[in-house]
Amino acid sequence: MKQMTYLEAGREGLAEMMREDPTVWALGEDLGRGGVFGQYHGLQQEFGKDRIADTPISESCILGSAVGAAMMGTRPVVEMRFADFALCAVDELVNQAAKARYMFGGQARVPMVVREPSGLWRSSAAQHSQSLEAWYAHIPGLVVVMPATPADNKSLLKQAIRCDDPVVYLEHKDLWALQGPVDDDAPDLPLGKARIARAGSQITLLSWSAMFHQAMQAAELLAAQGVSAEVIDLRSLWPWDKATVCESVGRTGHLLIVHEAVRVGGFGAEIAATVSEKLFGQLKSAPARLAAPRIPISYAPTMENEVRISAEQIAAAALKQIGKINA
């Protein structure tokens, strides 16, 4: 199977969709030059300036125009550069894209993908590092996808583009260079399905995006200590795969949710609350959350690291949760 990076996989997914469907196009700043991280490298050469459109620095129009273009039967892929800049276009996403189909009584479809490179990336500070997936999951009308691997980034991006709903597609900046196998013959994944990436019996570690990889490492560390952890990559936050999660936690009895976003009001809270509701009585411990403190993100590494969750921290929290060590 071929190996490629997370970044290349996204690019290949987009290119394949553009070849397959002439109504697919992409818009954003500096795309002709490949986009700020190179995610669009070479695409303007293949597809021309109309379909890989270089835009002004006008986030509200980038996103807002995509709403109009989507309602008119094209499939725009919007590049927001940094998830933080999408905050310049929230009316367009939340009041317009997410609601158009509904408030017009089903007359509109808004098939668009909003790519928002998200998360911590060494010393990018408070305005270039945020993870706001919980916001989008709270908004009716939006689909929310967060791929963690190259294979998923290709497959899920393609599915997001095929989807008739507006999809917030959050790629993690720290995963761009991650290498992994991508199987061109694999059927594309349905949106909303989690993956049990590692089977285990004593605790379920649930995560997504970059944190998933920390969870996998944590499972190794736990294995070394004789603890069998199941690791789930949630992949989509809306819809989220309650069935897979509950089935797993039903078996293990312990759930530890790990995400990079701020813990207060993070999506981990929704999962924890839901799992409690569904499995009360079957749980051996309260669903636990390991996530960022409620502080902005610093530039200096010492302070920035305070919002980073490591595999060691996850393993320690898991051990504590299953009662192997004390607080």
Partner: protein, 329 residues
């Protein structure tokens, strides 16, 4: 405009459309007073010439985006007033199935892609619709109508700049009724207004007496042609909101006498005068007026008697993936 080249058939039709808009809104205001219209409505009484002068020039597959004050535009674009009235009453058979109400009125079947509850938001959406038209190589255009207050929001700059950069087929129409809700827009607007701003963004633009339906018609025809050849343009239509911001706003903030004076320029009266001067019989014009009233009275009655949508419809048309009807477990 001399009597000889005045197109009586055309402007009789325009007059009739203006009468229908007026009658529709009067019926809606009545329905609001009776508690039948549940949300706020923003009547466009006094602005009908702008709506009709622009929208009568659009083909069914041309695209229109409007504002919270969009009844006139929507009707003139060809939407069924019955479906519109039902929507205002939140009833079955409304254009938006009762989900939108007045501020989200839309009829995609006639190219009307929606009023909007957010001032200025339609500008970016319109530009995107035009972008799609360009990408698909279609021969149609987008008309985006917004108020004088909207030119102080960011999308005015971002959208017009965008339309020009990508050379998109959009006609921007600033329907200037002098007020932004309860504030005279002059007090919150620096510089000379929409035409100067549009020109600074590289668009051709002009101001027109928006209460003169013939002037609006001619300018629109001209600009539609130009838009198709040269990309985006802006028309600034100067009109006046004869009523309050919403149907329940007494508009006491206006200088005494202002509205009374403006009633002398009621676009319906002005159009009627032109038609009579051009020799159209008074009886014919009276008939058009009676027809409009009758049509809207009938519509009002059917809408009133229609049922509300079933509650379960609230869960439809949210989204395909993660549909709330199948997602909740």
């Amino acid at each position: 405009m001399t009597a000889s080249n005045f197109d009586r058939t055309r402007y009789s039709r325009f007059y009739s459309q203006m009468l229908r808009i007026r009658a529709f809104e009067q019926a809606a205001i009545k329905a609001k007073e009776e508690g039948l219209v549940l949300g706020a409505i923003h009547p466009s009484i006094g602005q009908e010439a702008a709506a009709v002068g622009v929208c009568e020039n659009l083909k069914p597959d041309d695209i229109l985006l409007s504002t919270h004050r969009g009844h006139g535009h929507t009707l003139s674009k060809g939407a069924s007033p019955e479906a519109m009235m039902r929507e205002l009453l939140g009833k079955v058979g409304g254009n938006c199935g009762g989900k939108g109400g007045s501020m989200h009125i839309a009829d995609f079947s006639v190219g009307m892609l929606g009023a909007n509850g957010v001032v200025g938001a339609n500008i970016n959406i319109a530009v995107g619709a035009a972008h799609a038209i360009k990408l698909k190589g279609e021969d149609k255009l987008v008309v985006c109508i917004f108020g004088d207050g909207a030119i102080n929001r960011g999308p005015f700059l971002e959208g017009l700049n965008w339309a020009k950069i990508f050379n998109l087929p959009v006609l921007f129409v600033c329907e200037d009724n002098a007020y932004s809700a309860t504030t005279h827009t002059r007090d919150t607007t620096a510089g000379e207004g929409p035409v100067a701003r549009a020109k600074a963004l590289g668009l051709e633009a002009q101001s027109i007496d928006g209460n003169d339906v013939v002037a609006v018609d001619i300018a629109t025809q001209d600009y539609i042609r130009r838009v198709k050849m040269h990309g985006p343009h802006l028309l600034h239509l100067k009109t006046y909101r004869l009523g309050g911001h919403t149907s329940t706003d007494a508009a006491g903030y206006r200088p005494t006498g202002e509205a009374d004076e403006k009633w002398n320029h009621d676009p319906l009266v002005r159009c009627r005068t032109l038609l009579t001067e051009a020799g159209v019989a008074v009886a014919e014009l009276d008939n058009l007026e009676a027809d409009a009233s009758r049509e809207m009275a009938a519509i009002y009655a059917t809408a009133r008697d229609a049922p509300f949508p079933p509650a379960i419809e609230a869960y439809a048309d949210v989204q395909d993936i993660g549909d709330p009807r199948t997602e909740a477990f």
